[in-house]
Amino acid sequence: MTSSALFLLVAGLGLIGWLVARAKAQKLNTGRGALHSRPGHHGWHLALWIMVPALIGLVTWQSVSPGLIHQAVLADPTAASLPMMDMERNAVLSDAYALAANPNAAVFNPDAQKLVGAVQAAQSKFNLFGALITLLLAFAGGAFGYTRITAAFPARTHVERVVLGGLLLASLLAILTTGGIIASLLYETGLFFSKVSPTEFLFGLHWSPANGSFGAVPLFWGTIFIGAIIAMIVAIPLGLMSAIYLTQYASAQMRRVLKPLLEILAGIPTVVYGYFAALTVAPMIRDFASAIGMANPSTESALAAGLVMGIMIIPFVSSMADDSIAAVPQAMRDGSLAMGATRSETIKRVLIPAALPGIVAGVMLAISRAIGETMIVVMAAGAAARLSANPFDSMTTVTFQIVQLLTGDQEFDSPKTLSAFALGLVLFVVTLALNIIALRVVKRFREAYE
């Protein structure tokens, strides 16, 4: 029996339990106040008693049974002829599993054919066993739950306690994800640093993983140059001025039309921006570079990637600036206007200085988003790791190299693959730091005006 069929069976039993318990509780309901909990709660109580133990059993069985099947297959007489080396033996075994699941599967080891019978026998034996355990748990839980249906039994309290536990588990998933990210990055980075020294990685000037040199400074520079310099030169003036126009000058009607239009820029997938950068913007920049007398400019340039990335970030900068300008008290604006300042003077001399901490925090968040951006640089920035301040050069970034190192053929223990995780860790730490500092600045800034 497959696990999904088993799952459906357990769910069906739960439904039956729900109906049975509700009917029984209904009969106990002799009048007002006779029952502690409503019949529906008794239904849920029994359903939980049927399903929770059975599903826990099912999941546990699913995680231990592959190991047991493995043991059983190895103990089979036909497995005696298998090679002793772990690697080869596992290759034959995984082929046998593939054949057992699908007789037409393409496999490399002819030996696997002999094992199919043993594998299928072990699988059907252990699957039957697992199904029996699951059903037994369902019936045992159900029987216990059924005996507890009495008029005075506080079924609601019990059910609600389970619900609260479920809510708590769901919110712990966020911690689990964060922990998972940190643990997996740290673990793989640790493996990497046991092969390559951290100083070489963080301060080395030469990046060429194929030849075993892992100096990541050119990648850091490329990331900063594209994400924090070129993109911000585009995004800050355009985003800030858009926010100022929308909040201070535009009529309510114009704002209603222009703001969503501007937000569309943030909703376009990055792969579309990347394609646009590679197909349209990069050739234009190359032609421009040769027009101003550069010798063989490359199609892939830091400028193309940074420019398009900057455009993508505009709505983000604009909405952050919008928020911080709106947080400046109206009295400051009114005071300035009452002194006879024009609106632009008020904006430049009063609003922007007052909103500056919020705007700076917004820019930091924008930078953290830009340096983590992947598809635009993968498609438009190029693979050459070089320390150059020429925006027409092709340049590579941290995210580009992660993609480069982890796609295609990979052995999991080589320093080449592991270095991608070290780069990921650097990226994670830097974006996290930018975010934490920015959020703290915003918080303090809000408090100052409250």
Partner: protein, 297 residues
């Protein structure tokens, strides 16, 4: 009236005023120009994609799967892969996100643990998407040995990414339900769980769904984390289930954009149009939901 020392009628003052007003007009024009430049870029992008791709969209393109020949290649396998992936994502992220939002907004005590949960949710929303791909690769593929390139792993990875978005939207929607609703339910004898599930949640649902759809739209356009878990394979037939190797729509765009054959430019642009239509439909639906069910208390 005493003399103030300033002659408001003099030529000098008039000139100064004129200069200040000119600066005012220049500043306003600059603001408008910033918006227009951004929108011009948007229009340029959309027109360029439409011009290159609209000729490539026909029934054959929408129903065929990937192929090495640009003339017979289509997007159906990628669309189906995207639908399966999004199905897995929503099945995991929506319940988890909503339950977490309910807990944090309605039941969580004020203590250190809850603070840590809140901080990690806010930070997860800002972690670069490629990091989620690294997590998916290290945990789902290398540790749990789930099938590579499958919508199952893709959907799980994107669910981790989407969940914080849904939690944040859900908390705002739940916060917007006025306390009087809760007080009324509690006053007639409902328990706290009943109050939340029978009264607060139904009222907050449109807001939660709007947030969920926007989060899903972001996940639908996401490519980088899926590159990490190997969803860049050439997939000539649509996946039959969530454990089959599969491609997704943005990945198809990425793969075609890499082709040397110029004929794939039309395919890529056409696939981009298909993707943008999907996104437009989802965002439109979110806006419709918000306008239809939005309640001002």
């Amino acid at each position: 009236m005493s003399k103030t020392g300033i002659n408001w009628q003099s030529d000098e003052t008039a000139k100064r005023l004129a200069r200040r007003y000119a600066a005012e007009r220049r500043f306003k024009a600059l603001g408008l120009a910033a918006i227009l430049v951004s929108l011009a870029f948007l229009a340029f992008l959309l027109v360029a994609m439409l011009a290159k791709g609209v000729g490539g969209i026909d029934l054959q393109f929408l129903t065929a799967s990937d192929s090495t020949d640009p003339a017979t290649a289509g997007v159906w396998a990628a669309v189906k892969g995207s639908l399966l992936t999004m199905g897995v994502t929503i099945a995991l992220a929506l319940p988890m996100g909503v339950l977490a939002a309910i807990y944090l907004e309605e039941f969580a005590p004020k203590n250190r643990w809850v603070d840590i949960v809140e901080v990690s949710i806010n930070n997860l929303a800002a972690v670069p998407s490629i990091i989620f791909g690294l997590l998916g690769l290290a945990v789902f593929i290398n540790t749990l040995n789930l099938p590579r390139s499958s919508p199952l792993v893709g959907g799980m990875t994107l669910a981790l990414m989407t969940m914080p978005v849904i939690v944040i939207a859900g908390r705002n929607a739940i916060k917007a339900v006025p306390p009087s609703i809760r007080d009324a339910a509690l006053a007639v004898g409902a328990s706290r769980v009943q109050t939340v599930f029978h009264h607060v949640l139904p009222l907050a649902l449109p807001g939660i769904l709007t947030g969920a759809i926007i989060g899903m739209a972001r996940a639908l356009g996401e490519t980088a984390p899926l590159l990490m878990i190997g969803m860049r394979a050439f997939v000539p037939a649509p996946p039959a289930g969530i454990t089959d190797p599969s491609s997704v729509l943005p990945m198809q765009i990425f793969l075609w954009s890499d082709e040397v054959d110029r004929a794939f430019v039309q395919n890529t642009s056409a696939a981009i149009i298909v993707l943008l239509v999907f996104l437009l439909a989802m965002n439109g639906f979110a806006i419709y939901l918000r306008n239809k069910f939005e309640t001002r208390w």
